[in-house]
Amino acid sequence: MWLRIWQRCDWTIIISTLLLVSIGIIAIGSATHVNQTGLDASTLVAKQLMFFLVNVVIVIGLQFFDYRKLKDWANSIYVITLLMLLAVIFVGTSALGAQRWIEIGPITIQPSEFSKLLMIICMANMLEPRYEQLHTFKSLVFPVLYVGFPILLVFMQPDLGTSLVYIAIFIAMLFVSGIHLRLVRIIATTGVLLLPLAWFILKDYQKQRILVFLNPDIDPFGSGYHIIQSKIAIGSGTIVGKGLFNGTQSQLNFLPENHTDFIFSVIGEEMGFIGCAIVLLLLFLLIYRSIHVAYTCNDRFGMLLAVGIGAMLAFEVLINIGMTMGIMPVTGIPLPFISYGVSALTTNMISIGILLNISMQRTKYIF
């Protein structure tokens, strides 16, 4: 059994994940000045490391189950997800102007993080019977409502970024479910045509955000400040970086949120182009492998799950890294495996666990 697992494992996924989390922990250490404070249990690095180890155990444990059992629980998961998201709205704690956290004992969890994976499971379950059936607008009504409800709840937190992740996942999964290309074309064309109209329904502060994104210098001390400082951090890292703990931008607090959303800027500043390129390569390998797992999976549920996980990671990487380099607007989306945040880390690790499970199950029949 152990040997079989050992042989069938997708080592690319495992090693990429381990390396990414390791780089992340090092970067968090640097961003939180762990060289000055010392490493004890209370530090964020220690927390992240502890949760990582717990998650490794969970991931290993997950390999003893068949992911297809998730189908049986999908409806309950859907209900639980909705309840969780509602709970955030009613009993959540707010931070940075958004209600995203629920406090449970000593830890705070961020349900919208978990809900991403839970929704992937629900969507895969919902779309599996509709595979290659999505030829008419009518056939899309139920899937859109099914997914739209939780998206609305996340949007109301408000968490625009996460709701966009939902939409990205949903589109990717619809796409591989064989949605008719005619529908894709019509929806895409209408969407592009309606996009300018969206400007008029946006609130003033949202318009401001978009303007600042297009030109951070119009508000260099407000919302533009993060983008400007982040770009300076990354750019000034040049090829080899300034060295760990030596980044002036991150060590001297010019870079805000540097252990969470802007962790990539710390890596850019202190590890340079080489460090960043390695991170990008590892992330690419991981996403590539998830598509590969989906592609080689002979089970539609597993295929949909893998595509959902891949889409989630790809979209988060695009939004987060793009944001740190000033080519995407600022949203509160963390960088998978690297940003500090135990909810996100747990979600991503469990996703990897599921991915590994799918990849092992599909090979069962080959041997």
Binding site: V176, G178, G237, T238, F254, I291, Y295, M325
Partner: protein, 636 residues
């Protein structure tokens, strides 16, 4: 993936996903490459600008010494408060806190910070703060993260207002000036906070005095708090300069002027200002230079307040003007020296020829000041008593062209060439001048006016002193100078300035002796300055003057040299709107000479040390036939 065993449709959709993901990573990688590899230098500079601050350390300006090595202008240590710019507007609480501690208007501080657009040098907020304020700021250190306190050399004028226009003042470079400096020379040592000379010698010798500011590199965090100190660039102090000024004479002149202006004002004269020049007639060295009213350059060194600035700027008597070199006044009766010398030299008159003063000239109805008539007088009496009718006749005999020629021999109508900014040329009345300006003919009456120093003549007190120097030293014209030595930074002399001979009077020594004798008699009994110098132990030669002023009361002149036999000092004094020279300007010269020759100033009731028999001078006659304010009469 592409050589799939699966359905074509499924394959193509996975391919699309793969391409999209690849595209995303290519975009991110490309952007990363652009920022870090291609534009890395640009961002590095920005990051350095963020966290590295070059804090300038002001170099101590060079010292100005007097001729005996006394410090005239120096520097003293002072605490200054600066704000470290963070690239963000100043936090409101920090601003309010700072304003309270410094007892300043928060708006004033905010303006200073907002005006500072370029660069990351600390912004100087307050200079020369007291120890109490230093302590107060240190106590609130945690609330004022971007505020720093430094000890800097502060320009210090120990004699406060003394020779303010000569010494000038200093001020911090403005943002506009800084841009100019940088445009002219990108490597200019001038940076934000550099102290520049603004006027007078401070400005003229700014390059010598300024030195090179140093700096220390500080590493600051996002709130402007200093976290580490980097390398230092040491300051190079400015070089010292040595002036020809004698602080004791200068002090005596300042006091004499202040006392006399108070006195005159108490008597009801406007006495709007005064100027004094004291020269060494044997070298041209300026021993003292006073221009009243003065200002206190220490105000500028500390950072002048709006109230102080308004007070100085609205003063109708122009405290910033150095009247000793820039003030142009009709020369009045001292010009009779020129007219007299010309008449004797050209043999238009002999020293013994007696001319009858009936109170008015027989050709043109021009009179003595108070209408007095001195009867038959010779050259000596005419000069000693400053008789107008005699000199009208000299003018009549000379003609305006000769008067002009001799005036120029003595240096009127051209700059003396002293190395100071703002020297005026003065003017010499001439037919050509009148034609040029008024497009009109020259009249005899104007020659009469010109002969006694009115008409279009204008002279600065310095020109007057130079003229008198030539009388005193036998006819050599020296270029007046006020800086005798410039040092190198290490204290060795870089340049030494000595007497510079510009020329000699082309007038016979015999004539000049006669003039000198006449001037000698001005200060003896019966002379126009005889009263005050009655018992003065040192023989003084001089000439009083009262020049007509179209804008108010007459200006009073006195120019003198002493000792008569071996001149060491030449003094020229003007009191603006002070009335008769004998009562307004003479006391100032008297006090300066009394201080220089250690003569007790209180009125000596006993007989003078010099027997009166030795004194020359006429026994009879009024002692003041001086300087009648003669209105120019145009004859038609």
């Amino acid at each position: 993936m592409l050589e799939s065993l699966y359905k074509r449709k499924k394959t193509s959709r996975f391919d699309v996903l793969f391409y999209i993901v690849t595209g995303i990573f290519i975009i991110l990688g490309f952007r990363l490459f652009t920022m870090q590899v291609l534009e890395g230098g640009y961002y590095q500079a920005k990051a350095d600008g963020n966290h590295l601050r070059m804090v300038p350390m002001t170099a101590a300006r060079g010292v100005m010494y007097d001729r005996n090595g006394q410090i005239l202008v120096g520097s003293r240590p002072a605490y200054t408060v600066s704000i470290m710019p963070t690239g963000k507007p100043l936090a409101e609480e920090e601003l309010q806190k700072l304003a309270v501690v410094l007892k300043k208007d928060p708006e004033e501080i905010r303006k200073k910070v907002d005006n500072h657009k370029e660069g990351y040098e600390p912004i100087r907020i307050a200079t020369d703060i007291s120890m109490d304020v230093v302590t107060n700021i240190e106590e609130h250190r945690h609330e004022l993260p971007g505020v720093t306190i430094d000890v800097e050399p502060l320009r210090f004028y120990p004699y406060e207002t003394m020779a303010a226009q000569l010494f000038g003042y200093v001020g911090e470079v403005s943002e506009e000036e800084l841009e100019e400096f940088k445009a002219k020379d990108p490597n200019t040592p001038v940076s934000g906070g550099t102290i520049l000379g603004r006027a007078g010698l401070e400005k003229l010798y700014d390059n010598v005095l300024r030195g090179v500011d140093g700096g220390k590199q500080l590493e600051v965090d996002a709130s402007g708090r200093t976290v580490a100190e980097g390398e230092r660039k040491h300051t190079i102090p400015g070089s010292n300069i040595y002036l020809t000024i004698d602080v004791n004479i200068q002090k005596a002149a300042e006091e004499a002027v202040a006392k006399q202006l108070d006195q005159l004002r108490a008597e009801g004269a406007p006495a709007t200002g005064a100027a004094v020049v004291v020269l060494d007639p044997n070298t041209g060295a300026v021993l003292a230079m006073v221009s009243a009213p003065e200002f206190n350059p220490n105000w500028f060194a500390r950072g002048i307040t709006t109230a102080q600035w308004n007070q100085l700027n609205t003063d109708e008597n122009h405290p910033f003007e150095n009247k000793a070199i820039a003030g142009e006044y009709p020369p009045g009766s001292p010009f009779k020296i020129v007219t007299g010398a010309a008449a004797l030299d050209l043999k238009k008159v002999t020293p013994d020829e007696m001319i009858f003063d009936s109170g008015r000239h027989w050709l043109v109805d021009k009179r003595n000041a108070a209408g007095e008539a001195l009867g038959w007088i010779n050259f000596n009496t005419a000069l000693a008593k400053s008789d107008n009718v005699y000199f009208y006749e000299m003018g009549n005999r000379l003609g305006i062209d000769n008067i002009e020629t001799y005036a120029r021999y003595f240096g009127f109508g051209e700059k003396t060439g002293i190395n100071l900014a703002g020297e005026a040329e003065g003017n010499v009345a001439s037919a050509a001048y009148k034609r040029k300006i008024f497009d009109d003919e020259w009249y005899l009456g104007e020659t009469f006016d010109a002969a006694i120093g009115q008409s279009f003549h204008l002279a600065t007190p310095l020109q007057m002193a130079v003229m008198m120097s030539q009388v005193a030293n036998g006819g050599i014209r020296y270029q007046p100078y006020v800086v005798s030595r410039i040092d190198n930074p290490d204290g060795t002399p870089a340049e030494i300035f000595g007497p510079k001979k510009l020329g000699s009077l082309p007038i016979s020594n015999h004539v000049m002796n006669l003039v000198r004798e006449g001037l000698r008699d001005v200060t003896t009994e019966g002379g126009t300055a005889g009263n005050l110098f009655q018992n003065f132990p040192v023989n003084v030669a001089g000439k009083t003057g009262t020049s007509e002023n179209a804008h108010g009361r007459d200006h009073g002149w006195f120019t003198a040299y002493a000792p008569y036999d071996n001149p060491r000092l030449v003094i020229a004094v003007i009191v603006e709107q002070g009335g008769f020279g004998s009562s307004s300007a003479v006391p100032i010269v008297h006090d300066i000479l009394a201080a220089y020759f250690n003569v007790p100033t209180k009125k000596n009731k006993t007989d003078s040390a010099v027997p009166s028999s030795e004194r020359r001078g006429t026994a009879n006659g009024r002692d003041n036939n001086d300087d009648a304010p003669v209105k120019p009469v145009t004859q038609n």
